[in-house]
């Protein structure tokens, strides 16, 4: 039972880290970046490939994995978002263009077989793989009934530190103030001399780096890396988290992540494993109906 709670915290940390990136983009740009789950997967896939297919050291592979994810953030901005902003398209259009990019990224990995076009990136096709033991440092301890694997335990401090750092940056640095300014009023931000396009690029880079890192942690801790880990695990759960926490609110994403982790484990324990999947979405649906702004979000209102 306690082991379950521990699992809830591990998985909640991953949800939270993923959701923070999601909500950051929504907060600054008012759009939902549906390529975020693909970047999550990409971080894990790139890191795995570097370690297993090219014999690189784990830490180095992680750094490259995060860098690739961050770079993908720039791709998202320049391919999916900026052209739409230039054309003054409605926010829904960005939803669709990011869906398109996600399809491309997932398909590229899916098609990564030996001898195919994408073999340099991934060779395991649609299969699920795990880091072989020995390639990653993973000491395990046993405390009472609990089994603590370093790879899982490490998620918690890493996530918490990152979220605290991000929170600090947003709240107290000039860059953070700039991001908040762009989120609230891009026109005023421009008049104050901020380069709004650059701020938006920065937002996507930070968000995608966090997403990729969340994917790496997921792959390492849960031993499951495939083209579909984004779609199956976080794509929709990420939505549930930010809806629960309040779209655009970083503390909300954090709280929402852990909350969802707990809800899922709770449902697992109380209702059995079968209900686990549906619970997240039932929670999502209820929150939207009863309190669309989530726990921490601002009230939604339309001006006449």
């Amino acid at each position: 039972m306690d082991q379950q709670i521990l699992n809830a915290i591990f998985i909640g940390s991953i949800y939270a880290l993923f959701a923070v990136g999601y909500t950051l983009v929504f907060g600054v740009l008012d759009i939902l970046n549906l390529a975020h789950s693909a970047v999550f997967m990409l971080g894990a896939a790139v890191t795995y490939s570097l370690v297993v297919n090219r014999g690189q050291a784990f830490w180095f592979a992680c750094i490259v994995g995060i860098a690739v994810s961050a770079a993908m953030g720039l791709v998202i901005e320049h391919v999916c978002l900026r052209p739409l902003r230039r054309r003054k398209a409605p926010p829904i259009a960005a939803l669709i263009s990011t869906i398109g990019l996600a399809l491309i990224i997932v398909a590229a990995i899916e098609q990564g077989q030996p001898g195919s076009f994408f073999a340099w990136l991934w060779v395991d096709g649609p299969n699920s793989v795990a880091f072989p033991s020995g390639t990653i440092p993973n000491p395990t301890w046993h405390v009472g009934d609990l089994t603590l694997e370093a790879s899982k335990v490490a998620i918690i401090p890493i996530s918490i530190v990152l979220m605290l750092v991000l929170g600090y940056v947003i709240r107290s640095t000039q860059v953070g103030r700039g991001l908040r300014a762009v989120a609230e009023n891009p026109r005023a931000a421009r008049l104050m001399g901020l380069d709004v396009d650059r701020m938006i690029s920065l937002t996507l880079v930070i968000s995608s780096a966090l997403g990729g890192l969340a994917g790496i942690l997921f792959g390492v801790a849960l031993g499951d890396i495939s083209p579909y880990i984004g779609r199956d695990n976080v794509e929709i759960r990420g939505l549930a988290v930010i809806v629960l926490g309040g779209m655009g609110s970083i503390p909300g994403a954090v709280v929402g992540g852990y909350l969802l982790g707990l809800i899922e484990v709770g449902a697992l324990v109380v209702l059995g494993s079968s209900a686990r999947g549906g619970v997240a979405f039932a929670a999502l649906f209820l929150m939207l109906v009863l309190r669309p702004q989530g726990l921490f979000g601002a009230q939604l209102r339309e001006r006449i």
Binding site: R87, P91, L103, Q111, R231, S274, F281, A282, L300
Partner: protein, 306 residues
């Protein structure tokens, strides 16, 4: 290329060897029309797969347990989908834009993962076997139904309801100022869309020996696919999503070699269309792409999705 060669030189053989494809195009076209109705009224609802599931399971279960005739099964599926449509619609219609989309995603996944996968009667994760399916004969039924559906949708867009929907999509506040009961009309669109999706689901179940509760059938993946029909084809004209369905469904058959890269192509299409031609292939001027040079041109702009 062989695909087109056969299509034009030997249509009968084409028909016989591509029955499954044509039937699927038919089903997808009905789904596309379901999507059209909600998008035309300005609602980004991704709930179609959920209502499909309701229609499909109802029809098949009735057949399995009560052995009722096909027409009755399908009718029941449609009605039940409509009822669920009302229940889901009531709470979510206050939501706008992205929030509505997310809520409908929540609904379809909650239904699939929470309900269908857990009820013994639906076969849980293993799905349902449907022995009275008729993959080859069912095609005529599907195409017949498609024609009826398209006629219905066409006339609706011409009527008072359609005009009200177009207004609501453009500007809900302005629509209110003209006396349009926005909430009621949105609800009608939502429920009608649910009914059409349920219809498509029941028909599709009739074509398959197996009802599969997977993500590809009734999950987000399916919802995205249906959305792609509407984005590609355009949601300003009732034929738009149908054209989109035709193109997307046939794509893997036309480019057999590139079957593997179908998703990449779809992704590229989505981005290209939404950036460069948001009103879709068909836009608002009807089948403008096949307009003869002497047909008068209307100076209209088509709305982008959402």
């Amino acid at each position: 290329m062989d695909f087109f060669i056969q299509l034009f030189t030997d249509p009968v053989a084409f028909w016989n060897s591509h029955t499954l494809l044509i039937a699927q195009i038919g089903i997808n076209s009905i789904l596309a029309s379901s999507m059209f109705i909600v998008l035309y009224s300005g609602q980004l609802s991704l709930a179609a797969p959920g209502f499909m599931a309701v229609g499909a399971y109802t029809a098949v279960l009735m057949d399995l347990y009560w052995h009722t005739p096909l027409a009755l099964n399908i009718a029941a599926g449609v009605v039940f989908a409509g009822v669920v449509g009302v229940l889901v619609g009531l709470p979510v219609l206050r939501l706008r834009g992205v929030f509505l989309a997310i809520a409908t995603i929540g609904f379809i996944e909650a239904l699939r993962l929470g309900v269908i996968l857990n009820l013994p009667i639906t076969g849980e994760g293993l799905g349902l076997k449907n022995p009275s399916a008729d993959p080859l004969g069912g095609i005529n039924l599907v195409l017949g139904c498609l024609v009826v559906v398209l006629f219905l949708v066409w006339r609706l867009t011409k009527g008072r309801l359609g005009a009200a929907w177009a207004a609501i999509r453009q500007d809900e506040l302005a629509a209110l100022s003209q006396g349009i009961h926005v909430a009621r009309y949105k609800m009608i669109a939502f429920v009608l869309s649910a009914v059409l999706a349920g219809f498509a689901g029941a028909l599709e179940a009739h074509l398959n020996f197996f009802v599969d509760p997977g993500d590809q059938q009734y999950g987000v993946t399916r919802a995205v696919q249906i959305l792609t029909f509407a984005v590609l084809g355009g949601s300003g004209h009732f034929l738009g999503p149908v054209v989109g369905a035709l193109v997307v469904t046939s794509l893997p058959w036309v480019f057999e070699q590139a079957q593997a890269y179908i998703n990449v192509v779809t992704g590229v299409f989505l981005i290209a269309v939404i950036v460069f031609r948001p009103q879709g292939i068909v836009g608002r001027g009807g089948l403008a792409i096949i307009r003869p040079w002497w047909w008068p041109r209307r100076n209209v702009r088509a709305p982008a999705p959402g």
